[in-house]
């Protein structure tokens, strides 16, 4: 063992990155898209684009939703009302209706069923004509719950990969000898050198983001990965732990009295909450337990987005008299606040559009970093076979497998994303299980791309798949214009920035993929190395993402 520290770190970096790289690429892509999950969902419900709702005061919006819920679910156990924000013009409501008496012998479902609705706050009318879709929520869930498997397993898998990622980042920093000397260095058209430069640049220039997002990603699920601290401190009493760490103010398990009583007006309660939190604060959410019952409880939470923490203070009122029962989260303990900030950094529910756009950009840099890292392994490994290839030999099974998986992940995943958006607009509205059908399209497209990539991992396959992804993304605005209420120009002129932005970002991604595809096609494999350069697609993919 005469290896130096740096060599052993390089070994660690190579293998910790390669083994989980494909999962990480999926997590990075879906996670990056999730910064705009509300906008994606809005784009995927073109029926709502027409209802350009006039902004109304939060109190009016809240009162209209309460009036709506009084009609639709007056005897529900709980109402949840999310008030409109700059990103989400609709009021979102969830409620769980009173369970119906069960037929004898039937088993009670483990989780209560929730109903939901969206309300246009300007008119007080429900926007129920909107098609059913999981929207951006699917991509958000995909990045830590994966799909087609129990969420618990998925979270262990993703957490395991994230841990490897953290190892890869730290060992990568140690391995990189010239962080500051090569800070701005990118040498195009130099083969392996260019790949390494691209990998280094996307890693170093967005390093604060990569470290933060990986670490906070693990922290979001820390109570699942490492439950022992709280278990010991609270002697296994999970309820007390949850009540202390995630205070909700008031007892969530309070029973209904069974005697009806009129619900208090929410407007004055919201005014009191805003006065308590101080200048500039807005109400984000209302929760009503046992509405129209003598034991009704109203909880009002502040809107997030102004600070870093994901934990927002809330106030709880008696739902009949309007008397203040409790306040929560005004002064969080150090540990709770730390977790709240780490969680908030990961979710990035910031109200500033610039801030979220920069997170998106850094996320794309992360995708490119993972992709170039995976490709770099293939480029290096291929050199070992240079001689054999010259004599018409073949590369090893491992290299062929990595090449195939690279095509499947890096070129195939964009196709799957674009297909998901196309399916949202092209599947007939109103078919049964439409949300699941859209998701099936996502995985079907990805599956075909993956099988094709694994079967024939060659330069030609890279070209085909990258061009396909480019075309699908670049034509998204056309699909929107043909199947939605208006085209890109109209969206811009009417100030529908979430729709216009979605279209423009898709065009940008399409152009980036096209540049990558063009780059792959441009470089003819030299006769000396017929297949050596076969699997090295666009370095332009990195500019692409920028």
């Amino acid at each position: 063992m005469k290896e130096g520290f740096r060599q052993s770190m390089a070994w660690l970096h190579t293998w910790s990155g390669l083994l989980v790289g494909w999962v990480l690429f999926l997590v990075f892509c879906a996670g990056t898209a999730s910064y705009f999950k509300d906008e994606i969902t809005f784009w995927m419900k073109p029926e709502l684009h027409q209802a350009a709702s006039e902004p109304v005061t939060p109190v009016l919006a809240a009162e209209r939703s309460v009036a709506f819920l009084q009609q639709r679910g007056p005897d529900a156990q709980r109402w949840f009302i999310s008030l409109p924000t700059a990103r989400e013009p609709m009021v979102r409501m969830f409620w769980n209706p009173k369970p119906k008496p069960l037929p004898p012998g039937a088993e009670r479902p483990r989780r209560g069923r929730f109903e939901n609705a969206a309300l246009d706050p300007a008119t007080g009318q429900p926007a129920e004509a909107a098609r059913e879709t999981r929207g951006g929520e699917f991509l958000y869930r995909l990045h830590y719950d994966l799909h087609y498997m129990p969420a618990l397993w998925a979270r262990w898998i993703v957490g395991f990969c994230a841990m490897f990622m953290l190892v890869a980042i730290v060992s990568g920093i140690v391995t990189h000898k010239r962080i500051f000397k090569d800070f701005f260095t990118f040498r195009p058209r130099k083969g392996q050198r260019s790949w390494l430069d691209a990998h280094n640049a996307t890693a170093v220039l967005a390093l604060p983001y990569h470290l933060m997002i990986t670490y906070t990603g693990i922290v979001t699920l820390m109570f699942m990965y490492m439950p022992w601290g709280p278990q010991v401190a609270y002697k296994g009493d999970e309820k007390t732990f949850n009540a202390e760490v995630f205070p909700s103010g008031g007892n969530r398990n309070a029973k209904a009295a069974g005697t009806p009583a009129p619900l208090v007006a929410v407007g004055p309660l919201m005014a009191r909450a805003q006065a308590h939190w101080g200048e500039g604060s807005r109400v984000g959410r209302l929760e009503v337990m046992h509405p129209n019952d003598a034991n009704a409880v109203v909880t009002i939470s502040r809107q997030s987005g102004q600070d870093l923490s994901s934990i927002q203070p809330s106030m709880t009122f008696n739902g009949v008299t309007g008397e203040l029962i409790a306040t929560a989260g005004d002064t969080a303990g150090a540990a709770v606040e730390t977790r709240g900030v780490l969680y908030g950094l990961h979710l990035a529910h910031f109200s500033s559009g610039l801030l979220r756009a920069l997170f998106f950009l850094s996320g794309l840099a992360g995708c490119v970093m993972v992709a170039t890292g995976l490709l770099l392994w293939g480029v290096k490994e291929r050199q070992k076979f240079a001689k054999a290839l010259k004599q018409g030999g073949r590369v090893s099974f491992g290299l062929r497998l990595v090449d195939g998986l690279n095509v499947a992940a890096i070129a195939g995943l964009p196709i799957a994303f674009a297909t998901y958006f196309w399916a949202n607009r092209l599947l007939p509205v109103g078919i049964a299980g439409r949300p699941q059908e859209e998701i099936t399209c996502f995985f079907a497209a990805w599956g075909v791309a993956a099988v094709a990539g694994l079967a024939w991992p060659a330069r030609r396959m890279w070209q085909i798949q990258l061009w396909l992804g480019a075309a699908l993304f670049a034509l998204v605005p056309l699909v929107n214009a043909l199947t939605g209420p208006g085209n890109l120009g109209m969206a811009i002129s009417r100030g529908l920035w979430s729709v216009a932005g979605f279209d423009l970002v898709c065009v940008g991604l399409g152009l980036a993929l096209a540049a990558a595809a063009w780059w792959v096609g441009k470089r003819k494999p030299s006769p000396a190395r017929p297949r050596a350069a076969a699997v090295t697609p666009g370095g332009s993919q990195m500019e692409a993402a920028r």
Binding site: F184, L308, F359, A365
Partner: protein, 118 residues
């Protein structure tokens, strides 16, 4: 002109100009930009000082825009975005870097003046 747009522009332009100056202070990029054999020499110190100043100004603007906590996060994002632009410029169009440095610095000074003097 409202605050956030000018402020965002000021933060981005200062960081962009700052990184350009820091890049040009490095011999390799200076050679690429001004021809083989040329060297920043004593100008390098000034470029480095100016570059550092640009980054600090960007941080100040970011904190003013979003408060200390979110401002620091914003600053990291702004630096990442501008460093990527500078790296691409220095690789693909080094000949233009002097003009781009001048242009971004002018924009930065104007935006900062609009933000703090008006």
């Amino acid at each position: 002109m409202s605050g956030p747009i000018v402020g965002g522009l000021a933060a981005l332009a200062s960081a962009l100009g700052g990184f350009f100056a820091l890049g040009l202070a490095m011999d390799r990029h200076y050679e690429d930009s001004f021809g083989r054999g040329s060297s920043a020499g004593r100008k390098a110190r000034w470029l480095q000082a100016g570059g550092a100043l640009g980054l600090v100004l960007s941080l100040v603007v970011c904190s003013g825009l979003r408060g200390a906590a979110q401002g620091a996060v914003l600053w990291c994002g702004v630096m990442t975005a501008s460093a990527i632009v500078v790296a691409l410029m220095l690789s693909y169009a080094p000949r233009h870097s002097a003009r781009v440095l001048a242009a971004t610095s002018t924009v930065a000074v104007m935006a900062l003046a609009m933000r703090w003097l008006s």
